[in-house]
Amino acid sequence: MEPHHYQHLYDILTHAQGYIFPNEIDLQWGILIVVYPFITGLVAGAFILASLERVFKVKVLKPTYQIALLTALSFLLVATMPLISHLSQPQRAYEILITPHSTSAMAIFGFVYLWYLMVVLLLEIWFDYRPSMVVWSNEKKGVMRLVYRILTLGVNDVSPRALKWDRKLGYIITVVGIPSAFILHGYVGFIFGSIKANPWWSTPLMPIIFLFSAMVSGIALVMLVYMIISYFRKTVIDLNVLDTIGKYLFFVLILDFTLEGLDQIQRIYEAEESFEIIKLLVSGKLYLTLFVAQGLVGTLIPLITLAFLQFYKHKIKVRKSMYLIVSILVLIGVYSMRWNVVIGGQLFSKSFSGFTSFKLGLIGLDGSLMAAFWLILPIGILTFLLWLLPPWKMVPEEE
């Protein structure tokens, strides 16, 4: 790797502008660290949408409840992989759990993640699916019977009392889950927002901005997944579902846009020592990804489209395709936002006097193929989970 890496660095050196500290030519966090908060955001957002249905009893969203939960789980299972594959000593990753440093945002993330995975997401899904899994295990034969048996952890009680407890405990978990989802993604924002050395990252609003953009992306993803699943199962898309999700997406997007706008206005008005370099950054190297991809494509166009959809009731087919396009655009926008934060924050020198440049490789552990792999893997997992735990075959709940 060495000579190749050096060649890459010499190449970058010729593209550096102004003065940068010599150690800054080597840009440390590449595309995998862009993918990581993107995936984590999808998890938090999808989960929050599921919780809306359950806690606030939004009956319309019922068809997406399990889809949202399973989507969240499939992405959460992969969430740490880009991080671990980015370490230069991945075999030592376990140290983060056995000797976590209490002052490190990254160390505590390991536990926040475990809490969210084990206590929130898995438990909620388990309570929700247990009655159905008991029934399935009785229906199926052979291996699948055993699989469902194991998944129920051997709790086969389907008496009304036990079922009542499933619902009750599931509800408690959901209530605990909402703040957990907030913490999970707020924490990811904190990992960046707490770096006082980097003025592009260091803002108290960072966790909140990450949280809202997470909700935006998660909601859009569930909408997309719902449409895709309906397409493959050849079932009719319930337009009420899309309209309701679209409404939420609209409101959260407004909030997200406002927050990010406020953050930038504050930054511009205060115009601290880093202002000049950041002005050059956003008008130069980040112009395409910030103003075009994130602002126009990912925020303004979806916002206007969604606003339109609130007032005008177009033909069903038109609305469906508009929702499809909006959800994709929003996902692109949030991905660009992660890019702008992670890569943007490393492009300018901490000397505030120059820029390094970032060249995205195709292959290698830190290349775009690897990133694409970690983004596609969750979709594979989701397909598997939908086969293993099909929401449409669940035993109907009796109230």
């Binding site: 140290e95 759990l97 056995i98 209490s102 084990m118 952890l153 051997g154 709790v155 009392r161 405990l169």
Partner: protein
Amino acid sequence: MKFYIPPQLTRLAIAFAIFISLFLVLRHFLVPDTFGEYGHYRGASLIDNALPEIHYAGQQACFDCHQDIEDLKKQDVHNDIHCETCHGPGQKHVLSGEAADILKPTGREFCGRCHSTNAAKQISAVFQIDLKKHNVNRNCLECHNPHQPWKMKK
């Protein structure tokens, strides 16, 4: 009245208990012995960091053999400059005594690193000459003894 504990809870409690104890057992074996000895780090790392071999021997090691140079230097302005500033890392030479293991820099470029004019060098800090004007075709060592730069050679 008997208190009802839902079977789900007991089973989950067992699962979590197993998981947590497994974690604690693993943790017990994985944490390095000296971790936390002085702070939140591996105490033995202090020793690791003190281990590397030195390459620069320090001026005293030079004078242990080269008393004559020490005396020469004392009489002139290069006295405060330690030997390895110009001669490079000397530990290898100290151990071997081989002349090949120490640098003997010559050439205008080398002297110029300190003595060429530059607006950033304070006049009081170093005596500067313009390499493009000062005795252009001659080597510094033809006139100056680096150990006694102001005592001109004839």
